[in-house]
């Protein structure tokens, strides 16, 4: 019977059930479960049944019972209606299942991803998952662009009246200029008229809204996935529990490759050894070493930022230098090829400069691997953003002044960037993985086989996607190129991975890295692309002679014109009103921002309060368990003496104290006789703390108690030999020795103890007080809190008397715990 009992601390002494009793209890539970399930809706029922931690047979049994129950309940009522509804829900469910099946057959690359995940683990798989996700974005974009912009133009529109003066030369595939310039590839060829076909199709509005809606949808999807990822992987994650995590959560069950498994095992062993030895000698850095470290950090950051800025500036001058021809129609082949210079340099920089960054990395020492990855990512992001930023500035400011039809030029530039980036990605895979593998295996075996650098690759595809996002406005068919690019890239990377790379040796926190990647995708890159497009649409003047927005002041004024037209339609004043007072007014946005800030502040305070609550609750759990175990240990012994309770409780606390004070391992089979001695010591410590708290002169010399206790302990040890199963415990000597030690320590100096023993000591005192209370009650012959406790033997030993005497003395100073 596999049913999980969630209450494992049922006292075994009470497990005197007969078989029938057990059976009836089980059936009872099952009936309750069935009743609970029947009350839910069908989808909830199925979900709950699936989540039951029972064997399949039992689940099926529950399910049949639920179905019978429901059908019997319904058969009393409107039979035909209920039949109908039941059949309908059944067929809906079947339909849902078949859709799920169909979706699986269509699911792209399912088998390949399984293979990669099995061999290389989830962090490498994250790269491919992200690649597939971005591919979906592009497929969606391509579909809506084709559907709403291109096809209506092709079917109903007029052919553009500017025809190309050059024929198709092969170079267009690379440069995007020339023949392609006047095709539907670019913005310039889209007309600004209203097409009259089946409906009046306003091309301007279609273009604007398609792009806008696509960007907004992308943003929403990214925000939602980022938020859910953050919640799962950061907010609830606890970075502190390292050992337990490594032991119980870090093993990747989906790895099936033997070599990978062995490597992970080795790596885990090495990590554990490292972390064990770290405790032994924490690095103590001198001031000069610290200064040196900080100097190196600052130096490398300055260097990398200046490299990035330098790249940006050089790209700017390069663009200006290259920018010669005004008339794009009569470019020679050479001139056209020269346009490839800028993308070439950009991609070269993006490939080479990160190598410098990793060189800096070798000199810096980061405390853990994750900080290293974050630093590297940050530097790469700065590099790429600065280059892109400079390029965008150039496109927004310089290009419109030089060309009459400037949007297609920008579109061409982006096309070139995308294509050259693709070529360099392939080259990078060749050099980074294939050659590196060759070097690592034959020329320099010390280097070894390379691992797949997930962070660098992810950044590359994020950058590629950013180019596509910027380019959608200027070149609506760019997503097609992007789809091809990602598709081919997937296969190239997969082949390169399986041939050249070895599985990652560290079992890192893949889920957190995935969150960081999605965040990166959203924050600098998507937001940047969106702002460029928004800026273009809002502020820049569209070109006069080409494109769907020709003649307007800005792209956004399309909306204004449309609203004017809508105004003429009666009954639509609300639309106009919304436009005037909500979208175009600044007060609205100001108010919304203010409200959002207030809400954020409230939620933040809520989070702080919850954190404190968590701390309180965990402390309560600890206290509760200690109390419970103290009571249990009461119930279990026949000699349930208050003192022995105290000793046992103190034994636990003392173990805890020793564990927390020093890193010395506590042998798990600590013999209880030892424990009693330790308990005595703990008690002495407690006494000392007691005295510190209350600052009273010592009424009873501690030595008296120590000796009394040691005598009693010896007595106890002799009496209860069979209970404690002392094997080679030399009874007399250690007792006296510890007694002497305790006395010495008590009489000795009362230097301040480190404060970290405070909380266990205070709980020691709680235990002591409780035990004393019980002793009191015992003496009075009343029933105590602990059930099943036997009364103390009437022949109370010197111990009890000593306890009582002490108790009376303490009662004067009792704070009333």
């Amino acid at each position: 019977m596999r049913r999980m009992s969630m209450f494992p601390d049922a006292d075994p002494a009470h497990a005197a059930f007969t078989e029938d009793a057990i059976k009836s209890e089980m059936e009872n539970e099952e009936q309750n479960l069935v009743k609970e399930l029947v009350a839910l809706s069908t989808t909830d029922q199925i979900r709950k049944i699936r989540e039951l931690p029972m064997s399949f047979k039992e689940k099926k049994h529950v399910r049949t019972q639920v179905m019978e129950f429901k059908s019997s309940k319904q058969s009393h009522q409107f039979t035909r209606l209920s039949d109908c509804s039941r059949n309908m829900s059944l067929s809906i469910r079947r339909f849902g299942y078949s859709i799920k099946s169909a979706r699986q057959t269509l699911e792209l690359w399912h088998g390949i991803m399984k293979e990669i995940g099995g061999k290389f683990g989830s962090s490498v798989l994250n790269y491919f998952v992200l690649l597939k996700w971005l591919l979906m974005f592009n497929i969606f974009s391509c579909l809506i662009n084709f559907g709403f912009i291109t096809i209506p133009l092709l079917v109903y529109g007029h052919t553009p009246n500017i025809t190309s003066k050059v024929g198709f030369r092969g170079l267009e595939l690379l440069t995007g200029a020339g023949y392609f310039n006047y095709t539907i590839m670019y913005y310039g060829s889209y007309s600004n008229e209203t097409l009259y076909g089946l409906v009046d199709y306003n091309m301007q509005l279609a273009y604007f809204f398609t792009i806008a809606v696509y960007m907004v949808l992308c943003g929403i999807v990214l925000i939602f996935s980022m938020a859910s990822s953050f919640k799962k992987n950061f907010a609830l994650a606890n970075p502190a529990s390292n050992n337990a995590w490594q032991l119980l959560c870090s093993w990747d069950f989906s790895i099936t490759n033997e070599r990978a498994v062995n490597q992970r095992k080795n790596n885990l062993r090495v990590q554990l050894k490292e972390s064990l030895s770290e405790k032994a000698h924490r690095e103590r850095q001198t001031v000069s070493e610290k200064l040196k470290h900080y100097g190196i950090y600052i130096g490398s950051w300055l260097l990398s930022t200046s490299l990035a800025v330098g790249c940006g500036v050089s790209i700017f001058y390069l663009c200006q230098y290259e920018d010669k021809a005004v008339d794009t129609e009569t470019w020679s082949l050479l001139q056209e090829a020269e346009t490839l210079l800028v993308p070439f340099v950009v991609s070269l920089m993006n490939m080479v400069i990160p190598l410098f960054f990793s060189l800096f990395n070798k000199f810096e020492h980061f405390s853990n691997q994750r900080k290293q990855i974050y630093a590297m990512l940050f530097r790469n992001v700065i590099l790429r953003m600065s280059i892109l930023g400079v390029l965008c500035y150039y496109w927004m400011y310089m290009v419109p002044q030089k060309f009459t039809c400037w949007e297609p030029m920008v579109g061409q530039a982006l096309y070139r960037l995308v294509i050259v980036d693709f070529i360099f990605l392939m080259l990078g895979s060749f050099f980074g993985e294939f050659l590196r593998n060759v070097i690592g295996t034959t020329l320099q075996p010390r280097l070894g086989v390379p691992e797949f650098d997930v962070a660098r690759n992810v950044l590359e595809i994020i950058y590629a996607q950013t180019l596509a996002w910027i380019g959608i406005y200027f070149s609506p068919l760019l997503p097609v190129i992007q789809i091809l690019k990602f598709f081919i890239l997937f296969y190239i990377k997969k082949v390169s991975l399986t041939r050249n790379c070895q599985p990652s040796q560290r079992s890192g926190r893949a889920a957190q890295m995935k969150t960081i990647f999605i965040f990166l995708l959203f924050f600098p890159f998507f937001v940047g692309a969106l702002s460029i497009v928004a800026y273009t649409a809002w502020s820049l003047t569209p070109s006069e002679q080409c494109g769907p927005f020709r003649g307007l002041n800005s792209t956004f004024s399309v909306i204004g014109e449309w609203i004017d037209e809508v105004d003429k339609i009666p009954g639509s004043e609300w639309v106009v009103w919304i436009y005037q007072n909500v979208i175009r007014s600044e007060i609205f946005y100001f108010l919304v921002t203010l409200i959002i800030l207030v809400i954020i502040y409230i939620f933040w305070q809520l989070t702080q309060g919850r954190k404190e609550l968590i701390i309180l609750l965990s402390q309560q759990i600890v206290n509760h368990t200690k109390q419970r175990s103290a009571e249990h240990s009461n119930g279990r012994q026949s000699h349930s003496n208050a003192v022995v309770q105290v000793l046992l409780a103190r034994q636990q606390v003392e173990e805890e104290e020793r564990r927390s004070a020093s890193g010395v391992p506590v042998p798990s089979d600590i013999s209880t006789s030892d424990a009693m001695m330790q308990a005595m010591l703990a008690r002495q410590k407690a006494e000392r703390q007691d005295e510190k708290f209350y600052e009273i002169p010592n009424e009873h010399p501690p030595s008296l108690d120590a000796v009394a206790l040691s005598m009693a302990a010896r007595q106890r040890a002799e009496e209860e030999d069979e209970y404690w199963s002392i094997t080679d415990f030399n009874q007399s000597n250690p007792v006296n020795r510890f007694g002497m030690q305790a006395r010495q320590r008590a009489e000795g100096n009362r230097e301040d103890e480190p404060n970290d023993a405070l909380s266990p000591v205070s709980s020691v005192m709680t235990q002591v007080m409780q035990a004393r209370q019980r002793a009191e009650e015992e003496e009075r012959g009343q029933s105590t809190r602990a059930p099943g406790q036997n009364p103390a033997p009437s022949g109370s030993s010197a111990l009890i008397q000593a306890m009582l005497a002490r108790q009376q003395a303490q009662n004067e100073y009792d704070d009333g715990y």
Binding site: P8, L236, N243, A244, W251, I255, L268, L272, A511, T625
Partner: protein, 187 residues
Amino acid sequence: MGNKQTTFTEEQLEAYQDCTYFTRKEILRLHGRYRELAPHLVPLDYTNNPDIRVPLSLIVTMPELKENPFKDRIVETFSEDGQGNMSFNDFVDMFSALCETSPRELKTIYAFKIYDYNRDNFICKEDLRKTLNKLTKGELTPEELTLVCDKAIEEADLDADNKLSFADFENMISKAPDFLSNFHIRI
């Protein structure tokens, strides 16, 4: 979608679909895999619910389980007799609980059972020691083993009873976001 198959009745397939996270196609595929393990033992026709169990030694030869350090424990946990002999129902149940869409709570319950070697509803130091042995190929010294296990218990034990109850384990898992993606076997 109706494929002509004679392995299961429609009701059986629906029951499988309702009680596990698999679709119809996956269930048929799983049956194929199950049969591959012991073709002479497992019949093609399951319509009359034959009571066939494939022994542990054959199940752990599956490529998905072969290299897993916990393969024996996994199979034992999901088998009805607790010894590792799995019927097809247990087989489907096992992969369903370990699949991608299985919820965190279910995975936590089964992970706890898997790590609890002596089945006393607690993960004590001995259980942790065995786990650690399996994970490091037994190459740590006994002192290191003890040290690591002690530290692990110290970190995760909320109620200070020197062993991990289910509540402690669940608390630790809820703070480990990787657990869902790690505790996952693809079939």
